[in-house]
Amino acid sequence: MSQNGTLMGFVHRRRRGAELFLLVLALAVGIGAYAAVGLGVEGSVPADLVAYGGWLTALIVASHVTVRLVAPYADPVLLPLVAALNGLGLAVLHRLDLTYEAIGNDQHTFARQQLIWMTLGVVLFVATMFLLRDHRSLQRLTYTSGLAGIVLLVLPFLPVIGSAKNGAKIWIYIAGFSFQPGEVAKVLLVIAFSGYLVLHRDALALAGRRVVFVDLPRGRDLGPILAMFGISMMILVLQNDLGSSLLFFGLFLVMLYVATERPGWLVVGGLLFAAGALAAYTFVGNVQNRFNFWLHPLDYYDQTPGSGQLVEAMFGMGWGGLIGRGLGNGFPERVPFAYSDFILSTIGEELGLTAVMAIVLCYGLIVERALRIALISRDGFGKLMAVGLAAIFALQVFVVIGGVTGLIPLTGLTTPFLSYGGSSLVANWVVIALLLRISDQARRPAPRLDPVDDGAADSEHTQVVKLR
């Protein structure tokens, strides 16, 4: 935990100008996509382009000004990446709305609702940046946030407010609003894991014995990993949600590995996960279906439950090809849930592989920036938190894009910032606020302390102490 910035021979600049430049480009992506949707679907520039563009610009300017005010050294690339993805997602949702309206679907206001959620997300982003001036104060909330996270995960089981939607029991309904508590829980669990691991990593890292080539951890240290495994399995079996279960367990494993630098944990965790997946495959019918749809999608095309959704998405992406059919010229309405889990297939169909690659690259850059923040962060808690938040993004994007493109069995997770979904969008904006806060602390030049030097007189036994 040294001051890597100075070790590497440079201090970071503020780069707020670069951020502004990238934000202008990101706005061009978002508003340009909105205009292209209007031109492609209706043949004219949308009438509300100015109002829509103005609103989007206001949100982006608000977040940029916030960063300038309270986190001047924060990473310059994260916010533009998020703004571009969010803007593109809004435009694609608007494109789906126009088609859903035309074919008489009840729900055709996804883009409008998503814009409201984005506004709420930006408000929470600004609030987090202003209220949380030092991420290390979150370390005090280690156990509180752990408990809160687990309570949130259990909420959907409660009889009155919990509810199942599309087979997965991950929703709660309060006063007419539906909400996915798991999205908030993952942020809280990252805080809890970081706080716990930064204190206990020595015990987890050093104790244990060596079997063959692998350092196995001590039996009594297995407690937390078993507890986390139990919670993941509970989500899988009771909530019927393979994606979240994978996300939570994978997140814990990544953080454990990063904290202890011991591959032994990966072996133990991998074995546990394999055993759990095997058990789930054998006993949970849903999981078995998912595997079959993945291996032989065309065999289950017109069955219910079947792989129609996955196959239609593949047809769409195949038809889209390298540069796509153009916004408005595809048939994304053939894919159920094209607005949430399968939004990437819509993009693949209408904007082609070129746009999908750009989007995957954007996610890659977000993860890269988060890991870079972890590398240069000066305190262990910040490091672990940045790694955990990076792992959330990486796992979530891998699971959902891998599922949509048929690389791995399909599991329901939202595509961060692109998919329609209020809880996910709001939670992800807060995640970005936390990352920017850590990066502001990490990139801020170290306080200049004069070296201890009591003059040349007694320099024989007075060494110049360098900042370490």
Binding site: M1, Q3, T6, G9, F10, V11, H12, R13, R15, A18, F21, L22, L25, A26, A28, V29, G32, A33, A36, L39, G40, G43, P76, V77, P80, L81, A84, L88, I323, G326, L327, G328, N329, L351, G352, T354, A355, A358, L361, C362, L365, E368, R369, R378, D379, G380, P445, A446, P447, R448, L449, D450, P451, V452, D454, H461, T462, V465, L467, R468
Partner: protein, 159 residues
């Protein structure tokens, strides 16, 4: 709207998307290689000299701490003026506050200013320096009345 126009619109949008991604990458690149090298790394002897000259006659602001006081331990009551900063704390003879405490290292910690803020920094001591309940690993800001523990001794900034 003709087929060609739609094609051009699509290509223009894909171009904007990629221009954005490539600009983001180039900002990351310049962030890595184009960063400013600090003066100390360039062998900057003049910088500390200049700072010392300008920093010496600094008048303490109202409400700013003026001295470091030992509030608990064998040397309770001993104090050092912050005007002499940076202050070395330890058992050694060159320490500004010389502590007779077996759990304190010869050169244990030091207190120094950066701007208006005061920092305490551990100098690789055996038993560590604590600000509140937390063992510090990097220079840490301390305000008035924050308890800094070295060995069995507790120090505070006082007005």
């Amino acid at each position: 709207m003709s087929e060609l126009t739609l094609f051009l619109i699509r290509m223009a949008f894909l171009a904007i998307l990629w221009i954005f991604v490539l600009s983001a990458i180039s900002v990351i690149r310049s962030d890595m290689f184009g960063a400013r090298v600090p003066e100390t790394a360039r062998g900057g002897a003049p910088a500390p000299a200049g700072r010392k000259a300008s920093g010496k006659p600094r008048k303490p602001r109202r409400g700013a701490p003026t001295h470091l006081l030992v509030v608990e331990g064998a040397e309770a009551g001993a104090r050092a003026e912050l005007a002499d900063a940076p202050l070395l704390i330890g058992r050694g003879s060159d320490a500004a506050i010389k502590l007779d405490d077996d759990y304190v290292s010869t050169r244990h910690a030091r207190v120094a200013a950066s701007g208006d803020e005061w920092f305490v920094e551990d100098l690789g001591s055996t038993n560590g320096t604590y600000v509140g309940p937390v063992r510090i690993t990097q220079p840490t800001t301390i305000g008035l009345g924050v308890q800094v523990r070295v060995g069995k001794t507790i120090l505070e900034l006082r007005k």
